[in-house]
């Protein structure tokens, strides 16, 4: 049995949050249910599909596999943190332009994995893009356009990308 609900503090997209919740509740569920950030999706719920990808302290993670207690003190970035004041992130623009989204369930995870990739490797090769997104599954067969979207974003204004990455920290 649990010992009741501790208050767990962390930041989401730069905002401090404090959630009184069960330590074993998944970060995914806390984001969606407690913080109403429903951009992060649940696909498989077992770390295979990447739909629930978020960034935690600058690393890509599956939020379905994180007990929220382990997010204590962390800086979380979700898909809601990509656009700034309604201005879409270059990756979001590229996904729109290149048709990188079909049904949309994998899209937030794809965007976060791509954000992570470009944060550490601003000009990835195609094999590097494929590896960076290998943990994110699209079942609408849209991989080619997703990869093209990342290529397009990477060739866009990189100083802008960097500014957005810094903002999200």
């Amino acid at each position: 049995m649990s010992d009741g609900c501790p208050t767990i503090r962390f930041t989401v997209n730069g905002q401090d949050v404090a959630v009184e919740t069960l330590p074993m509740k998944r970060l995914l569920d806390v984001l969606r249910e407690d913080l109403h950030l429903t951009g992060t999706k649940e696909g498989c719920g077992e770390g295979e599909c990447g739909s629930c990808s978020v960034r935690m302290n600058g690393e890509l993670v599956n939020s379905c596999l994180i007990p929220v207690l382990q997010a204590e003190g962390a800086a979380i970035q979700t898909v809601e943190g990509l656009a700034i004041n309604g201005e879409l992130h270059p990756l979001q623009k590229a996904f729109l332009q290149c048709g990188g989204a079909q049904c949309g369930i994998c899209t937030p995870g794809m965007l976060m994995a791509a954000t992570q990739l470009l944060a550490i490797n601003p000009h990835p090769s195609m094999p590097e893009i494929r590896e960076g997104l290998a943990g994110n599954l699209c079942r609408c067969t849209g991989f080619t356009r997703i990869f093209e979207s990342v290529v397009s974003a990477a060739s866009a204004d990189t100083s802008n990308l960097q500014a957005q990455a810094d903002h999200a920290r």
Partner: protein, 292 residues
Amino acid sequence: MRGNPHAHQLIAPGSLSAVLELMAAAPSEWTPIAGGTELMVAHAAGRLASRKLISLWGIPDLRFITLNPDTIVVGAATTFRDLRAHSGIATHLPLLAKSASWIGSIANQSRATIGGNLVNGSPAADSSPALLVYDAEIELVSVRGTRRIPYAQFHTNYKRNIMAPDELLYAIHLPLRFAHHRQYLRKVGTRRAMAISKVALAATALLEDGFIREIRLAAASLAAFPTRLYRTESALLGQRVDTNVFQPARTALLGEVTPIDDIRSSAEYRVRVAANLLEEFLKEMQSPECVA
């Protein structure tokens, strides 16, 4: 999500000593959880038996890579991403770097730890074959002190190991004496990312004038736990590397491994592929180039 977060207690004492004291006070009661890439999957499926979990995430004493003159020591809560990013691992232990790169996906590698991989003890554990052929030692810790044993003696049966209920896996010690060895590691799975191995084979061998002076072979998914292939090693030790050794090596391997049929592959396929991998390594050894 079939699991119930109400059904499990999770605490994060924040230091190694606090974790060890709690485990000593109630041995067998606590299940350590590091990156959660195994236990949280069980939790989601509603089959996490442990009621009390103790977090190892964020404890610096367990997450380190130390480069010594003759060893590299890796803390148990070091992630596979940490291993991939470390230049000393890439230089001195290329097989370990390679295995870290093919575990799950980037998101899994950010969280999955080498200690978790070993303690979980899957027959298919990705880091195990490399650690076995590098002659790794593991260091266990409890309030009673520490002890070191060869990693080859760690697993005792399917998902069973030699750890006492109050012990934690603390670190993995890797000797740096394989620079002149031929090194080999190959995993066969359905896909490069996210696939659990059907078969994986690792090898290190020292050649002298075309003769095998030293050899270690290890496999995943060919027995109830990751294991050295001692009989196959014996069949090859002292032999000249030429086509004459291929058949005896295959025969020894076939007599030694005990794979199973399961959802991922058949025993027959696993055995054949394992023998082919071994032959690939032997063929590579015939060439003058060192292929890692």
